[in-house]
Subunit: 400 residues, 2 copies
């Protein structure tokens, strides 16, 4: 990617990267979700676009959302890894600073002997989780000189962010991962992390004191303790003023990690489209994220995923098209086939529209097997940024 | 590949990798061997499978059988090189130990002045070669404390294996490669190989003494002196209990080098299929090898290669299908077009069948140009293992 960065120019066209989360699928009755959907607008656009398939990480590798998005943003996801605690904090919507240490946390049930009886405290309600987090936040707002930020998640899950001087990652988890074992002490895996381990252990101990007389949620377990990766900025690398529009916090968070401006938006796709229209003239690059398909795929709900694709085609795509981007890319971060009920390793449909593509008139369809016949061939997700920049006439010639 | 190894799980589906040696071809009268063959079973399977083309080593590179197979097994063939002496020994069926030093050998005719008159001793008969090898084996069973194993090949060719303490490779060949020159002394290219060079030179000298009064086969020439590469084990890398079924010794040998269990089988394809069925439940992964196509290609015998493909389609494929593998891959190690009478650099047809592929109903044909329209695109042979593991649901998600 250093080659690309050396060729980037300051000026050029406006780019839209629209990510339909978990877009790719696998057939049920010989049609994938995208192939089964009635998508006249996408099909018409395909005939005026170049098509291909993306490999998110590597042939055969199923990506999580973090690495899949980093790749789409042009970052090598095997080099820049986003720790689990960071992703959880982003997902809950905590605004993370570069030096924050983030942890996934569970409320747990500990026995009289101190061992874990239930790692999930009987899956307490989200309401109770919120009350307990508020209690802990009130009583443990800091440990030593380190600010502690506690935010509830669903059921027994919450997030803890440690913010302060010299709190570096490289410490072990306190969650023993199995019932019947005692919670572990966090220990430093490198000398610089000694303070972090000490602070985390004090935090856990204080929580225990505060929760101790409860029957179920009388302890906390921390894991995935991580700081955000040090990512070279998107603006610095690609000279783009980039904005992110995403209804879900985690995707806003990842965009923020690479240095995009995260725009306030609502919770629906229509809200996102309105936000895009409002800010159209202010940025060179927009990342637009549509989440719900992925959820339908994870639920194994083939029909809902089909309907969501149809909804995108009918309600969203016309709005995107009328704004007049110079480069428009529609793809997914990974596949989430309903038949697999989860993310998968399969390649992802890719559509690239600009006045400089070689259009696929003879295909005229947007689907996995149509894209396999596309003239972009297989593209590693990490290379998509190159293509977008090129079609926006934002890359200088290499050599003379 | 370290990424893949970090994601491998212990459980998952059962995989068959069926290798039709030299499968790929080049057209005669606009049909390759595979395209010309009548293959209703393969075509029907293609309609329910994903298709693509493999690049064995690198675009434009014609592979030998050793590197082509290592790539199929997921090993970088430019990193792990199998020396020629090792391949010859494997091909003859010698069971090689990790520290053995193997050499290709020729019986040669030396003149009165000691120079080589004929590097192949007038291509003596295989029968005579066997007699001479027996003689040498009887008289020279060891040099110093090093065991010497001598095995006849075809005509003037044989194999010598040096087995003992401190016999390391890194020595030069004794074959001058041209008539009119004297045989060379083996010399050590590194200090650790000094003993090996000394032992090899003593061996050559003793052979000369034993054969000296013969007219034609009165000397021996050694080349390709090599030890087997140190390969990380297949089980350790992929957590698969893997079995190899191959009628030809060399392919059993390569499978053994990577740590597969080599099953006893007969000499025909039917024997191999019977062996597969007998052991089906004992292993997670089977490598099945079919040799004869490659020989037909090497002989320039287009029609025999076509007939062998038809035989596979009619007699073997139905047996493989009825066993019920979770993942079934049919491909070749390289192309051996009859029109080229040898291995070639051409890409190789790839068929991948599992319940999680995107089937190529509209193609419904297994051939080079059909596969070029397949939705797997171009796959490096080394990445095939990734795909097989993924479709067997044997790879964990990367990141969150």
């Amino acid at each position: 990617m250093q080659l690309i960065e050396s060729l980037v120019s300051e000026k050029g066209g406006r780019i839209l990267l629209a990510v339909l989360d978990g877009l790719g699928g696998v057939p049920r009755h010989n049609r994938t979700e995208l192939e089964a959907a009635w998508t006249p607008n996408l099909n018409r656009l395909a005939a005026r676009s170049s098509l291909g398939l993306t490999v998110p990480i590597e042939v055969g590798v199923t990506p999580g959302s973090g690495p899949a998005h980093l790749a789409l943003f042009g970052y090598d996801p095997t080099v820049y890894q986003v720790g689990r605690g960071v992703l959880e904090a982003l997902g809950i919507g905590v605004e993370i600073r570069p030096t924050d240490l983030c942890a996934r946390a569970n409320f747990a049930t500990l026995g009289a002997d101190g061992t874990v009886v239930d790692r999930r405290a009987g899956r307490i309600t989200t309401k109770l989780c919120t009350e307990l987090c508020d209690l802990l936040q009130e009583k443990v707002s800091a440990v030593e000189d380190v600010e502690v930020i506690i935010r509830p998640g669903k059921e027994h899950r919450f997030v803890v962010v440690f913010r302060g001087e010299g709190i570096l990652d490289g410490i072990t988890e306190t969650d023993p991962l199995h019932a019947g074992l005692a919670p572990k002490k966090a220990t430093a895996l490198r000398p610089e992390a000694t303070k972090a381990a000490r602070v985390v252990n004090q935090f856990v101990s204080q929580c225990r004191d505060l929760l101790g007389d409860r029957q179920r949620a009388n302890g906390v377990l921390l894991r995935g303790l991580a700081q955000p990766p040090e990512l070279p900025g998107f603006r610095q690398r690609f000279r783009l003023d980039a904005a992110a529009i995403a209804a879900y916090p985690m995707y806003r968070g990842i965009a923020q990690l690479v240095g995009m401006t995260v725009l306030e938006t609502g919770t629906s796709w229509a809200d996102e489209a309105v936000t895009l229209k409002e800010h159209f003239s202010e940025f060179d690059f927009f990342y637009l994220h549509f989440k719900e398909l992925d959820k339908a795929g994870e639920d194994g709900d083939f029909d809902t995923k089909v309907e969501l694709i149809e909804q995108f085609d009918e309600e969203v795509l016309p709005l995107l098209l009328e704004l007049g981007f110079d480069v428009l890319c529609i793809t997914g971060d990974h596949s989430t086939p309903a038949v697999l009920k989860g993310h998968s390793w399969h390649s992802v449909p890719l559509l690239l529209h600009s006045r400089y593509v070689r259009p696929q008139v003879q295909i005229g369809e947007f689907g996995e097997r149509a894209c396999a016949r596309g003239n972009l061939g297989y593209v590693r997700a990490e290379q998509i940024m190159n293509t977008l920049l090129a079609h926006a006439l934002r890359l200088e010639k290499f050599g003379a």
